[in-house]
Every structure is written in C-alpha cells, then in structure tokens.
C-alpha cells in the first residue's frame, strides 16, 4: 500500500495524517504535493502525524526534509508526531532528530507552535 494522506485543522494547526508507506514513487510524490500545496496557500503551522506510517525509505526521508525546507522558507514550521520505533531509528541514523521537533502527544505538539 502506498501512503494515504488526509489533512484536518486543530485550531490554527494543520495536521497531516499519513498512513502506509512513504517510499520512492507514488508515496513520496504524494507527500511532496500535499506539503507544497499547504505551504503555497499560506499554512504556517503543520504537524505531520506519522503514527500509521509503517515504512519510510531514503526517498521518503528526503521528501520529509524537503517539506521541512519548503515550509520553513515560507516562514512556517513543520513538526512530527507519533513516530514508530523504526522511524525514530531512521531519524537517529540520519541525524535528522537534530532537525525535526518530534512529539508523542498531539495536544502537546499543537501547543508547541508559536
């Protein structure tokens, strides 16, 4: 299964609920399109919920980084929620835990946006 992405609003924070696999091909490009659309329409507080994502490859990681850069360049913030142990391990291996703010609790994540 490729990735399924749905967005919802929690106050002024846009939450992207992702489910499935973010890998080279459809998964990564769908993810890229959603982030770019949100940034283009001016959403500045974006929380990416990965709790239902069971697999990310290096292309998927690349899209997350690209999304982070896109949102940051638009003056916004992109944060991560609900990482599985495997996805946390990927962030450790790639040192990206130093880039992304990561939360286990949605309410705390929403409150963290300035």
């Amino acid at each position: 299964m490729s990735v399924k992405l749905t967005t919802r609003q929690v106050g002024d924070v846009t939450v992207i609920d992702a489910a499935g696999r973010i890998t080279l091909g459809e998964g990564a490009s769908a993810f890229r399109d959603v982030i770019r659309d949100l940034a283009a329409k001016g959403d500045k507080k974006i929380l990416l919920n990965l709790s239902e994502v069971n697999y990310i490859d290096s292309s998927g990681i690349g899209e997350m980084v690209s999304g982070f850069t896109t949102v940051t360049n638009h003056g916004g913030q992109l944060k991560l929620l609900g990482l599985s142990k495997r996805v946390k391990d990927l962030l450790q291996i790639t040192k990206l835990y130093t880039v992304f703010e990561v939360f286990d609790d949605e309410a705390a994540a929403v409150r963290s946006f300035t």
Partner: protein, 147 residues
Amino acid sequence: MPENQSGEIQEVDTLLDSTLDSVDTAEMAVLKVAEEIGFEEDDLHAIGMAVRESMVNAVVHGNRYSSRKKVQLRVLKSSDHLTILIGDEGAGFDLSQLPDPLAEENLLRQSGRGLLLIQAFVDEFDLRRREPSGTEVKMVKYLAKAS
C-alpha cells in the same frame, strides 16, 4: 546445489529489469531466503530496507531506468548468514567523492542517504567495480549478530 568455500549455497541468480517493480521483486526474493535461514521480524525489516535501497541505487542512479541495462541479483545462504549481491551496469562512482550525509551542511539535502541506511542495516557492506562497467554491492547479515 554445491556449497562455496564459505559454506554458502546460491539460492538466487537472476537478471532484473531497470524498473521500480524490480525493487519489489528483489525484496520478496531476498526475504524468502532470509526467512528460510530463520531471521526474525526486525531483521527481516532491516534486510528488506537494505535491499530496497540498493535496488533503487542500481535502477535509478546506476542503470538510470535504461531498458537495455539489467540489475543482477544474487542471494547466497548459509546456516548463520545471508549474502546479497546487487550489480548494475551504470557508469560507477567513487564512494569517497560522495557528500557525507551526516555533515552539518548536508543534513537538509534531499538525497544521498541510501548508502548510509544500507550500511546501518547490514553487518558487512562492500562495493566493487564490475567489468566492463557498473557497480556491485555486497551485503552480509549474520543470524547470530542480529539477535
């Protein structure tokens, strides 16, 4: 099938098209052998990740999706380890010339993490040039070290 000097039996030797479908095909073929050896879920995930990243490198960066070029997949098994060899027909590359994906200035690059992940997920990793052209990745995962 006869064992080689390392006590390995070759289970798979196949040529795959330079397409993303071949990434799935290779992962399934390798995981079938890995399960036979007795690797458990976390190790199967690691092996699958390493194979997918290697196959993507071979298909996308090595063969550049060329319909005239193939990816060779070989899988050897022994009682305590799995050996995977993935070879492309691309122009090859110098590992020492690749940017370090962990360097501060490279952390926000979109690509360049595949080899890092492969090396993190297997116990032994080696690259060699193929003749007349191409690159072969050798990956070894041990059952005992994995548990």
